[in-house]
């Protein structure tokens, strides 16, 4: 079932490539159909998933490169389930959302988006480290193509920067993976890259440090954790709308997912020891992202920097290493995907009409596009984490988790919530209210039926998660519990026993609580 999920989009891409270039409508519908089928399969998976079991479900495995012990093995747990769900929802939306704006090279574009969906799903579902790395790197190629061929004026620079930056960070992960494998081969007496088997290996502390560092840098660039975020504004800004949506909504989550999936299993001691550092960088990212967003004149750059800030919350949640924080981080991953994806679509709507991303070129749009104004307001408030929307659930849980570790973490995190409300509302005011400044106001026609259909599922998800997050929390709870339990191994527990000073809410050692 999982293999079908991963390779269905690829089959769609192959069908698209077989169609003649001129039949653009057919290409679009085939593309939508294959990502739509993937969505249905994903929904079926969500329904069939057993929430009470924290381990891997629906596992499949086969030998792939037996001489080196590399296997094709995939599986899903509550953590990957949420991200898979996000992926299968966002991709059809991104495809339909680009129907209006992509007119050249429709065939290649559709095929690239579908190939990207395959690689992303593979990344979230791989249980073998090399398979994970293969999908992880394979994501780069279609994404760089999307930026380089359908992007904005500075697209070539942005694509190359994106590619080299992320690849330079991740090749070191490959060396680290091989090192883990070698230690495992000595301890287990078998060649394996399977995560399940590697969980039984205890790496010596010295090598845990550098292996954790190699993994962490690869993931941190993808997230991006401040100060490794400098590729992100360029890539987001220059990418076409669909590229920005996928990049922000899903690709950034690959980094945070990597932290949750691999660090607790392979390098638990190093993760516990590095948690304060990660939290510190996350808080800097939250505040810095919010501050820099406020200073932007380009709408897409503003949203790009807001991602730095919002992903800071995810990292803060992960670094608090407790149930609330980690579940909050997961929910925040999903809600950031929905809200920021929607925000990029909002900007895409404006850009399609006026071909400008500058905030100063707009004003008084609300009067011209009333339906658009409603959608923008909802999306904006969800990104600003208004209670009742999805953004609130994630950030609230993250802050809860952070406060349980240290009041300072929580207090500084709250600054980010305030900041994001400030810059988002400021941007909304500049664009939507005030005197109209657009050069061609007649081009600012309200949302078409297709565009409303694109936004409808996102708006529905915003309220659904905001008002009733239980289905997501229920399904991820067991898996997060299992992940946290890995940090409770003897050596880790010993490091945590002295009660931490600070303004804790309970007397127990906080970071060790499940």
């Amino acid at each position: 079932m999982l293999s079908a999920l991963i390779f269905l989009p690829l089959a769609g891409a192959a069908c698209v490539l077989l169609l003649p270039r001129e039949r653009e409508e057919a290409i679009r519908w085939v593309g939508l159909a294959s990502s739509g089928l993937t969505l249905l399969l994903g929904a079926a998976l969500f329904a069939a998933f057993d929430p009470s079991f924290g381990g891997m479900q629906f596992t499949e495995s086969a030998a792939w490169l037996p001489a080196l012990g590399v296997g094709y093995s995939v599986g899903i747990d509550g953590i990957s389930l949420l991200l898979v769900l996000l992926t299968v929802v966002i991709f059809p939306i991104a495809l339909v959302g680009s129907w209006g704006s992509i007119t050249q090279g429709v065939k290649a574009f559709t095929a690239a988006v579908l190939a990207l969906e395959c690689a992303v799903l593979g990344t979230f579902l791989s249980l073998d480290l090399i398979l994970f790395y293969v999908f992880w790197e394979a994501v780069l190629i279609p994404m760089a193509f999307l930026i380089a061929l359908w992007g904005g004026p500075n697209r070539r620079y942005a694509a190359i920067k994106f590619f080299l930056y992320t690849m330079a960070a991740s090749v070191l992960m490959l060396v680290a993976i091989v090192s883990v494998h070698i230690v495992a081969a000595a301890q287990l007496g078998e060649r394996t890259f399977a995560l399940e088997r590697l969980a039984d290996v205890s790496l010596p502390p010295a090598s845990q440090w550098w292996i954790f560092a190699a993994f962490a840098v690869a993931f941190a660039v993808k997230v991006p954790v401040w100060p490794l975020h400098t590729w992100l504004p360029d890539a987001h800004t220059e990418a076409p709308t669909a590229g920005s949506v996928v990049l922000a909504a899903i690709l950034l989550k690959m980094g945070t997912y990597g932290f949750v999936r691999f660090a607790p299993v392979l390098t638990p001691d190093a993760l516990v020891a590095a948690a304060p550092l990660i939290a510190g960088l996350a808080i800097v990212g939250i505040v810095y992202g919010a501050a820099v967003s406020w200073a932007q004149t380009d709408l897409k750059r503003l949203i790009a920097f807001s991602s730095v800030s919002h992903l800071g919350f995810v990292m803060l949640g992960i670094a608090s290493l407790n149930l609330q924080g980690m579940q909050g981080g997961l929910i925040q991953m999903v809600s950031h995907g929905i809200s920021t994806g929607a925000l990029f679509l909002v900007v895409g709507v404006l850009y399609d009409r006026t071909h400008s991303r500058q905030i100063s070129d707009y004003g008084g749009v609300a009067a011209l596009m009333p339906r658009f104004a409603v959608v923008f307001t909802i999306v904006l408030l969800s990104s600003a984490a208004l209670p009742g929307t999805n953004g609130f659930v994630g950030e609230f849980l993250v802050l809860l988790g952070a406060f349980r570790v240290s009041a300072w973490w929580g207090a500084l995190g709250v600054l980010g919530v305030v900041g994001s409300a400030a810059y988002l509302l400021w941007a909304y005011q500049q664009v939507m209210h005030g005197p109209p400044r657009a050069k061609h106001p007649e081009r600012l026609v309200d949302l078409s039926r297709r565009e409303l259909l694109v936004f409808a599922p996102l708006v529905a998800a915003i309220f659904l998660i905001g008002l009733y997050p239980r289905p997501l929390l229920d399904r991820s709870e067991a898996a997060v519990g299992v992940t946290l339990a890995r940090l409770q191994r003897p050596s880790v527990a010993a490091a945590c026993t002295p009660p931490q000073a600070g303004l804790g809410l309970t007397a127990l050692p906080k970071r060790c609580q499940p």
């Binding site: 490169l65 001489a67 790395y133 293969v134 999908f135 190629i141 760089a144 590619f163 091989v178 494998h181």
Partner: protein, 492 residues
């Protein structure tokens, strides 16, 4: 028993034709093609390629079914490495044959000698894998190289091609002299040129300057053919001037031959004195990776860029040789198999593109190729992605195998080589993907003037085979790695 006249009898060594059957088949095919060329009309030259391919296929079958053994008074050995080398060389030769006809016809060079020379060079590479004696190695290197000089100068009316052939010839004979002198020094030190005895004696004897100098000179001689830094300076110039089909073939076959010889010399012969050469080879490998990749960044010519890229790949291959474990050696063979496909493929693409009646060697000549020839463009993109070592192509499996083996078996030095390897691979992504970007970019400036795309059926077959191989190894690597894993038995 004494012959009348008091002279000792001359016993001719037994001719074990069964051992060298694959080489004999290729050689015979080459001769048949050379002679048949005299009767075949100009419109039927395609038959010559077909005949040659049939011969190569027969040789491959013979290589797979031949039984191992040592022959010709210990000069020749047929083992797992020979078999792998035969298949690699035969594959490279077959691709080299298929790439050429369209180009040769366009430039009025369509003569049977071309196919003859390609197959003789292929035989040389096969013999290099099978050499069990340094003199035999020298002879097979010459068998490989001399046809390549002619192939480089095959466009007789074209001064740059002449220059390339001459340059290659002069520098290469110089390297051959190094090789011979090294063999002489090793013979002087140990009293033998047979590799197994040589390795054993060098391990027994105390360190001697002549032994080390001899080994170093042999390495230089073979390293020149493999275009290792700092013996690489000829490669960009020769590749630049020689006709593209010749380059597509020689870049690959020289690497196949040279690396099979290096594997035979270092891990297999000198395995017991590994401490003395791993560092030296590691340093050469680092220099080759760094110089090859950095210089490739600066090129504006597609051929020169690929020339430096082939130098860089020699560096990655040498990482595997320097590591020297069984795992690393089998990774080198896998890498060679992938490189045969992607290296030939990358050059072969340029055969189909022409600017104003001549080779289209500037990268910008490929601008907008995707709109004009989508399949050719997709093939180029695939080869570039594979050369860059990105999944899910064979290039990734190849690099992963070599670097994983270096980390596992190479100690701290191996780890350093692997780190340098992955980092220089990141650099390489820039220049490979620049080509892809140029191909797929739409509406930037004017399309290049006078550039034509000339499809050719045989070239299409070659590209299809190369594409299939690159994807096959990338998606189902076990098919190739299990085969190259057989070389492990040599280390027992």
């Amino acid at each position: 028993m004494r012959a009348p006249g008091g002279l000792p009898p001359i016993t001719t060594p037994p001719v074990e034709i069964g051992l060298i059957l694959p080489e004999v088949i290729v050689l015979a095919t080459a001769l048949v093609v050379l002679v048949a060329d005299l009767w075949v009309g100009p419109r039927r030259r395609g038959w010559l390629v077909g005949l040659s391919l049939a011969g190569l296929a027969w040789a491959a079958w013979a290589a797979l079914s031949a039984s191992p053994g040592v022959g010709f008074s210990g000069m020749y050995v047929r083992d797992a490495l020979t078999c792998a080398g035969d298949l690699l060389a035969l594959g490279a030769t077959a691709l080299g044959l298929l790439v050429a006809p369209g180009y040769l016809k366009r430039h009025g060079l369509d003569r049977g000698e071309y196919y003859f020379l390609v197959m003789i060079a292929g035989t040389g590479a096969m013999l290099m894998a099978a050499s069990r004696d340094l003199l035999m190695l020298f002879l097979s290197i010459e068998t490989l190289s001399i046809p390549l000089y002619v192939l480089a100068a095959f466009r007789r009316g074209f001064a740059r091609s002449q220059e390339a052939g001459m340059k290659y010839f002069l520098l290469s004979t110089f390297a051959s002299a190094f090789l011979l002198y090294g063999i002489a020094l090793l013979y002087g030190t140990t009293g033998t040129t047979r590799m197994p005895e040589l390795g054993a004696r060098l391990a027994e004897l105390p360190w001697s300057a002549s032994g080390s100098a001899g080994a170093a000179l042999v390495t230089i001689g073979v390293g020149f053919k493999a275009a290792l830094v700092p013996f690489h300076a000829w490669a960009p110039d020769v590749y630049d001037g020689a006709p593209i089909p010749s380059v597509a073939f020689m870049a690959v076959i020289a690497k196949v031959g040279a690396f099979l010889a290096l594997v035979r010399i270092f891990p297999l012969t000198l395995g017991s004195t590994a401490g003395e050469w791993t560092l030296a080879l590691g340093v050469v490998a680092s220099m080759t990776m760094v110089v090859g990749n950095l210089a490739a960044l600066l090129q504006s010519s597609y051929k020169r860029m690929l020339a430096y890229s082939s130098i860089a790949h020699a560096g990655y291959l040498l990482v595997g040789v320097a590591t020297g474990t069984a795992q690393a050696t089998s990774a080198v063979l896998t890498y060679l198999a992938v490189y045969v496909a992607m290296g030939t493929g990358a050059f072969a693409v340029a055969v189909a593109v022409e600017r104003e009646g001549d080779e289209a060697d500037r990268i910008e000549d490929y601008a907008g190729l995707a709109a004009r020839a989508p399949l050719l463009a997709a093939a180029t993109a695939l080869f570039m992605v594979s050369l860059a070592g990105l999944p899910p192509t064979g290039g990734f499996v190849a690099k992963f195998g070599v670097f994983a083996a270096a980390v596992e078996g190479g100690g701290p030095g191996g780890l350093a080589l692997a780190l340098l390897g992955v980092l220089t691979s990141v650099i390489s992504v820039y220049y490979y993907l620049r080509v892809v970007y140029v191909i797929y970019s739409v509406g930037e400036g004017d399309p290049p003037q006078g550039v034509r795309i000339l499809p050719c059926r045989m070239l299409g077959v070659a590209l299809a085979v190369a594409i299939a191989a690159v994807i096959q190894v990338g998606v189902l690597p076990a098919t190739v790695t299990s085969f190259s894993g057989r070389v492990v038995e040599l280390f027992r």
